[in-house]
């Protein structure tokens, strides 16, 4: 009932019941309306999937045309796609080549690694596992098997990075135990940060 002075009218109950009875006479087929709603939701889902499929096809096409060696770890790929989309079709291959060349110099998260540095190699292996697990449009927890243990084994070797390494290990365990992608994505960001720091140090 409305919390209003008008509700004090003595005829309220009678009027309410008359209006309610009138409304109740309106025929409504709830099952049919539910089916209509589900069909609309399914159509929305199909449109969204088609849009994602078109975007994926565009990326595959661009990668094929440019034949770049791409580390498909999140941000680098997004930068790649954004840049390539802004170029003309004729210039796409050049743009890809330029971008791949630029990555090795500018993107500290995806450049070359020091193969003699065991710590660095282990971090890199975990990074690759994370790429396989949570790469673009992907989620496969099984790819993370052993990643947390690998990080724990090296964590104490660099006190400055130890907290970050253990945090990443913890997030990977969460991702596996809860079957959730988001903690793995956060671990991926941390690992990229660690690699950037390692490269900054040289």
């Amino acid at each position: 009932m409305s919390a209003d002075v008008e509700s004090l009218d003595p005829r309220d109950e009678e009027v309410r019941s008359v209006v309610a009875a009138a409304a109740a006479a309106v025929p409504v087929d709830v099952d049919a309306e539910w089916s209509r709603l589900v069909a609309r939701l399914a159509a929305e889902r199909r449109r969204a999937m088609a849009a994602r499929g078109a975007a994926a096809a565009a990326v595959v096409l661009l990668l094929t045309v440019g034949r770049p060696v791409v580390d498909v770890a999140g941000t680098a790929l997004v930068r790649f796609v954004t840049d390539v989309f802004t170029t003309t079709i004729d210039g796409a291959a050049d743009a890809v080549d330029d971008r791949v060349a630029a990555w090795s110099g500018r993107d500290k998260a995806h450049g070359t690694i020091d193969d003699d540095n065991e710590y660095w190699v282990e971090v890199r292996k975990v990074h690759e596992q994370l790429n396989r697990a949570v790469g673009w449009s992907r989620w496969d927890a099984d790819e993370l098997d052993g990643a947390a243990e690998r990080l724990e084994a090296i964590a104490s070797k660099d006190p400055e990075l130890e907290d970050d390494v253990r945090r990443a290990a913890d997030l990977i365990r969460q991702a596996q135990s809860r079957a959730r992608r988001e903690p793995a994505s956060r671990a991926h960001s941390i690992i990229e940060g660690i690699e950037s720091e390692l490269r900054r140090r040289g």
Binding site: P10, V18, A21, V28, E33, L37, V38
Partner: protein, 166 residues
């Protein structure tokens, strides 16, 4: 037919519990069952898209009701603008069908003037306070009170003085 997602169970339960009564109430408000059903469908679609947030509210049903009323309000205003513009554009037909002819409700309510019926339904069926009803119709609160007074007089068999005197 069912939605595949597990989160849809609560949503479906809410839909099955609220849909009919909301459509029925808004049919009385708008005088058009199909328009009411569309408005409630849209409100539920909107609720599903934001179900994570809507489900966490104290009253998801209240959220849906509010969304559906807003949609009917927008339709109502659009129709009012159209009705205001039409006579200037085309002459009215000799016998134009009214919304009441689509209204499948009891005769007492169906015979109420359009605005009076909307006020009575918003107030008594959808529990909207006078201020909200006034905003819905784009009129003064005093107008809503007047429409309510006349609506009561037509729908009630009781003289308002009877109870007071008794």
């Amino acid at each position: 037919m069912r939605l595949r997602s597990a989160r849809a169970d609560d949503f479906e339960a809410l839909f099955r519990k609220e849909f009919a009564s909301l459509v029925q109430a808004l049919t009385v408000v708008a005088g058009d069952r199909d328009a009411a059903a569309d408005a409630v469908q849209e409100a539920f679609l909107q609720a599903y898209r934001h179900w994570g947030k809507v489900a966490a509210l104290e009253s998801p049903a209240g959220w849906v009701r509010h969304a559906a009323i807003n949609r009917i309000k927008n339709q109502h205003r659009g129709r009012a603008r159209l009705q205001a513009a039409l006579p200037r554009l085309v002459p009215p037909p000799p016998t134009s069908p009214t919304s009441d002819e689509r209204l499948d409700v009891g005769p007492m309510v169906a015979e109420l003037p359009e605005q009076q019926r909307a006020v009575v339904a918003l107030y008594y069926l959808l529990d909207q306070p006078v201020g909200e009803v006034a905003r819905f119709l784009g009129v003064e609160e005093s107008t809503v009170r007047s429409l309510l007074r006349h609506g009561r007089a037509r729908l009630s068999s009781m003289d308002p003085r009877e109870e007071i005197e008794a």
